[in-house]
């Protein structure tokens, strides 16, 4: 029961949430003017910045050109100061490479790439502060940045992490919780069609638990969707009002 105690001190988690609660999400869409689209998201203490450039002409070699769809180019970096232990380099290590390909595959499935043949869409994600759920927060930030850039997508891509602790599914883990549980899943989905575009698991989990934890994570994704949707709608309403 030790693990539960770490989670439940007084019936609540260390940061005062109950198991199915997300951390506070605050974001700013269009944080930077120079990029075609940008978004900054704070999910608890995880702070992430995403910018989108494109669709634009392919940079570098012509050999990268895809004749039937757009090329999605992602760069995932974690600032050297983003974790409590200073990192040696911002990108190029295994963790960031892994997150990079995760991001790329997720958005290849979600962006309507067939509309932009022979062009390139750049998604740059920068983690400024990491406190658990980096992958899911990065995907949420990139989604908002893509929406800001006006890149056509099938739906919002919403991501959420979850873990099983003594028969209970817990949503949106902080760094401390990630260390304690050992095993964790991250799902990203297109909430309206209930399609899963990213599924990632670390550690090991009993098969009996997979359904439970997946349902919980997808519920979390839906919650994230409602938050992001309301932010985007209020932003657009604000812009429309400014235009008169």
């Amino acid at each position: 029961m030790a693990r539960t105690e770490a989670f439940f001190d007084t019936g609540l988690r260390a940061d005062g949430r109950d198991p199915s609660q997300l951390r506070k999400i605050s974001c700013k869409v269009g944080a930077f003017k120079q990029a075609d689209g940008s978004a900054y998201i704070e999910q608890g203490k995880t702070k992430i910045l995403a910018t989108v450039y494109g669709p634009q002409e392919i940079r570098g070699g012509k050999s990268k050109v895809l004749h039937d769809r757009a090329l999605i180019n992602c760069q995932f970096s974690m600032a050297v100061f983003c974790t409590s232990e200073r990192r040696n380099r911002p990108r190029g290590d295994r963790k960031t490479m892994e997150l990079n390909s995760m991001l790329q595959q997720t958005y290849e499935a979600a962006i309507r790439v067939e509309l932009f043949p022979r062009s390139q869409i750049d998604i740059f994600v920068e983690v400024l502060q990491a406190d658990g759920g980096v992958a899911s927060a990065a995907i949420n930030a990139a989604t908002l940045a893509l929406i800001d850039a006006g890149v056509p997508m099938k739906d919002y891509v919403c991501a959420c992490s979850a873990a099983m602790v003594d028969d209970f599914p817990f949503l949106d883990l902080s760094h401390l919780e990630e260390i304690v549980v050992g095993s964790m899943v991250t799902f990203a989905c297109l909430p309206r069609s209930k399609q899963i575009v990213l599924s990632e698991m670390s550690g090991r989990l009993h098969l009996d638990y997979l359904d439970k934890v997946m349902d919980a994570a997808l519920k979390g994704c839906e919650d994230v969707f409602h938050i992001m949707d309301s932010i985007v709608r209020s932003q657009v309403a604000h812009m429309a009002a400014a235009m008169g």
């Binding site: 700013k28 910018t51 940079r59 100061f81 400024l128």
Partner: protein
């Protein structure tokens, strides 16, 4: 940024008339915004914005064994990351060259022992001293990176608090570090003599301060001057293509001597009156 001949001529004429394209005079800076304590688990951090340029500077102090040649001194190390967020050109290794340019400028400017009290960073002679890792992330690139970076570094160092530690020698004469149990106890750095850079960009026959990205793309080389609050020039470097005449170089140094102290004082007074209301990037 690529400009047409017409646009370049427009910028050139505007500098000649001492009324630049955004209405500034040649010696005017753009609006600056600074905010400290933006990263939770750092000893000090600052986010600084000049116009469209935005940098995030973070200071982390780590206990290390001092170098044998300087057993009673701490050290400072700079690392600059030109994030791809700032420009797609920086993707992959694209920003490395610019980053190492700025880094070498900072290394030079901070190499003098009068800049920071490095002996205050020593905990136990020959055994432990603090190394300050100053990590700079370029978030947006709207011209005048050198100035923004150096002012950001000064703000972050001002914000830095380092834990008080004591060293106890065990029976076998091995030193052991004891950290004070009160986390609020710590010491701050004296940043009075930390220099900041002023970039003089030559456009036509004149130099402008705080050039924007448009102006930088039609400039003919720039002069980066490190200057302290007393107006002492600590560092001069010509960067980029182009050349300077000795008299225009002298003019630039005189201007730096006059304006530099004002910038230092403005920055420090803003940092002192900063309120507890932090909104970070959500602002």
């Amino acid at each position: 940024m690529t400009l047409s001949e017409g646009e370049k001529k427009y910028i050139l004429d505007s500098v000649n008339d001492d009324c630049r394209i955004d209405g500034r005079q040649r010696n005017n800076y753009r609006l600056m915004q600074v905010e400290t304590d933006v990263i939770d688990h750092a000893n000090g951090s600052a986010r600084l914005r000049i116009g469209e340029t935005e940098v995030l500077v973070c200071v982390k102090a780590e206990l290390e064994t001092p170098k044998p040649e300087t057993p009673d001194r701490g050290a400072i190390q700079f690392f600059i990351d030109c994030s791809a967020n700032a420009s797609p050109q920086f993707a992959g290794r694209g920003g490395n060259e610019l980053a190492s340019d700025i880094q070498s400028c900072l290394d030079r400017a901070f190499s003098s022992p009068s800049v920071l009290d490095y002996t205050a960073l020593c905990v136990e002679r020959g055994h432990f001293s603090w190394t300050l890792f100053v990590d700079i992330l370029i978030l947006q690139c709207g011209g005048n990176l050198y100035d923004a970076v150096s002012l950001g570094v000064k703000a972050a160092l001002y914000n830095t608090v380092i834990a008080k530690v004591a060293v106890k020698f065990l029976a076998d004469n091995k030193p052991e570090v004891e950290v004070s149990s009160d986390p609020s106890k710590g010491f701050k750095l004296d940043v009075t003599n930390v220099p900041c850079f002023m970039t003089f960009l030559r456009i036509g026959n004149h130099c402008v301060l705080d050039p924007s990205l448009e102006e930088e793309s039609c400039g003919q080389g720039s002069l980066v001057v490190g200057i302290t609050v007393q107006g002492i020039v600590t560092h001069v470097r010509k960067v980029g293509p182009g050349s300077f005449h000795p008299t225009s170089m002298e003019d630039a140094l005189n201007t730096a001597n006059a304006i530099g102290p004002l910038i230092h004082m403005q920055l420090l007074s803003k940092l002192k009156e900063e309120t507890a209301d932090k909104r970070g990037f959500l602002r």
